[in-house]
Symmetry: D3
Subunit: 130 residues, 6 copies
């Protein structure tokens, strides 16, 4: 079965590698980006190609942080799953996050990342008739 | 503000009156039917005209019971709110109900009916991006 | 339609009156108690007679506080709805509350009380197959 | 019992009046604003004074629309309840809304507004330990 | 620890194998069927033997499709977990699905299947008192 | 990435080993205890050191059973995740459990344990603004 595509945005190389490996092992097809700018270019060029986004909140890249990447992903696909990864407490999630998203504060277990993206993707159809 | 329309299906006259009155007082625009057949005719003739359905499960009317009325309502509007009213335990809801519906077992308070239909209607958009 | 019965436990006379009046207006049948001891006697003598409990947490009555009343109510009816009313922050709810309960911290609007008990009662059957 | 305070932001006079009246009847203490600017001034001057916000999305007022009012409300109180009212489909809610908010699309029944704000306020403590 | 039993119904051999392998690796005890008829025979002969069902919606087998298999499973065990697997959009889930079920649209990651069945099984008791 | 710490309390050696191994493989950092007394000592000496607790309900240890361990964990960290493991039906969970907890009744699949603790940990922040 062809896997479902998830977009991963992380500017720390080791984390990018760790998350990508875990997502692939869980059965996802991952498109990975190390900057918000590249992620946004992809989103705008390939509508709906990714069913969900896992993004770090702080991105070295000046142009777009994770909050903005997620908003653009939702403009492209209003039902897209969104998981934020945060190194510093995610205190801004209540005001900056998008609805029906999950924020994971480091440290977290890889199982939490896989469960978070799976729950949100599973909810796409499940909630379509709520 | 023009109110939102709810379909009410109840073959017991006193309950039909009681529920209609309560829904109207809560601010809903109610189209009421005393038989499943008439309700289904309306559903098929007026797609999307009602944003939700409140239906008794047992209907004297042979042709359609509440389970069938709700399935047809969801074929017309996959996001329609569905509340079942049951006099006898709703034991069949787990196998016969539609997803994201609520079943109210008599006796219940009118506030439960208003809360149930309101919750489900409020979830329509709220969950659209889950 | 005969209404559904709710147990109300509140030792402040004015609040007891205000809550009882609001619950009755919402369509509930209320059995009210001004002490935990009387409430527990009722629970033990009339199994399942009440489908839900609204209880103040602090009760002048030494023998039972609201936490204990709720635990006994759940021993009698594991599916009973439980709403706690608190004057001082409900900080102990995470450790002392029962699962699937709601705590309302004063001040709250009467609509919050009616919505809370209605939601929990509506969930009784709705969740039976989850 | 002193009621809980809700902030209402609506630039259409008739709706402002209708919503304010309904919220007061439901037991809320309402502070009403007809422009985003005035609402933001209040939020910044009176931290935590309001436990929730009901705001129209489109506000004639150039400076702040409902999306911005809600973000500022959440910066002031990360646990504040947020209900958006929308005249035109709320299509931007998935990308512009804040987490754990509800959007009501006109037409809606007044009961939906009361249920929405009550549910979110009731969830404040209930979810504090999730 | 003896594992919990899940029923798997899938008429495409490769998928049956892939899903069975993944469920077993996740710690489930799987009883697999390649036709709705055989699945229904098992359900009727072994009440409660399986705590959940994972079923394809379209089954070559004329007699029973996944919708019917799930309804029969819920008649046998009203609290059974139900996950539908769909190759073509699951557009009928809002009208044909059972309450508290999850539908997975291909393509999906194996982690979504494991999370979906686990969530629903975990909810069985968790929601017993809601 | 340094992993998140989970406390595990299980007096059956083989289960303790099985659960610990599974939690570690899922990416958690596990502190394991074979008695309630030792678990409570740790909780009281190391506030907030563990973000969640997985505890058997029945503990040979007279002093503290799983219900009590969980209440103490919530006194130390009101937002801590709590998963109960039960060999005998968890019938007391509705009256003895803490809010927003999950109870797993044996037999269960290891995936259910990992999903349960992950869901609850993921909800900590996600619900902070509800």
């Amino acid at each position: 079965m062809e896997p479902v595509r998830i977009m991963l945005v992380e500017d720390e190389g080791l984390l990018l590698f760790e998350f990508e490996e875990a997502l692939i092992e869980a059965g996802f097809n991952v498109v990975a980006f190390s900057s918000g700018t590249k992620a946004v270019e992809y989103l705008r060029s390939a509508e709906g190609a990714a069913k969900g986004v896992v993004t770090d909140i702080k991105l070295s890249d000046r142009a777009f942080d994770g909050w903005e990447v997620a908003r653009i992903a939702r403009e492209v696909d209003p039902e897209g799953a969104v998981v934020y990864v945060s190194g510093h407490g995610a205190v801004d999630w209540p005001s900056q996050g998008v609805p029906n998203s999950i924020v994971l504060e480091k440290p977290f277990a890889i199982a939490q990342l896989i469960t978070a993206i799976s729950q949100l993707l599973n909810g796409r159809l499940a909630d379509a008739s709520t």
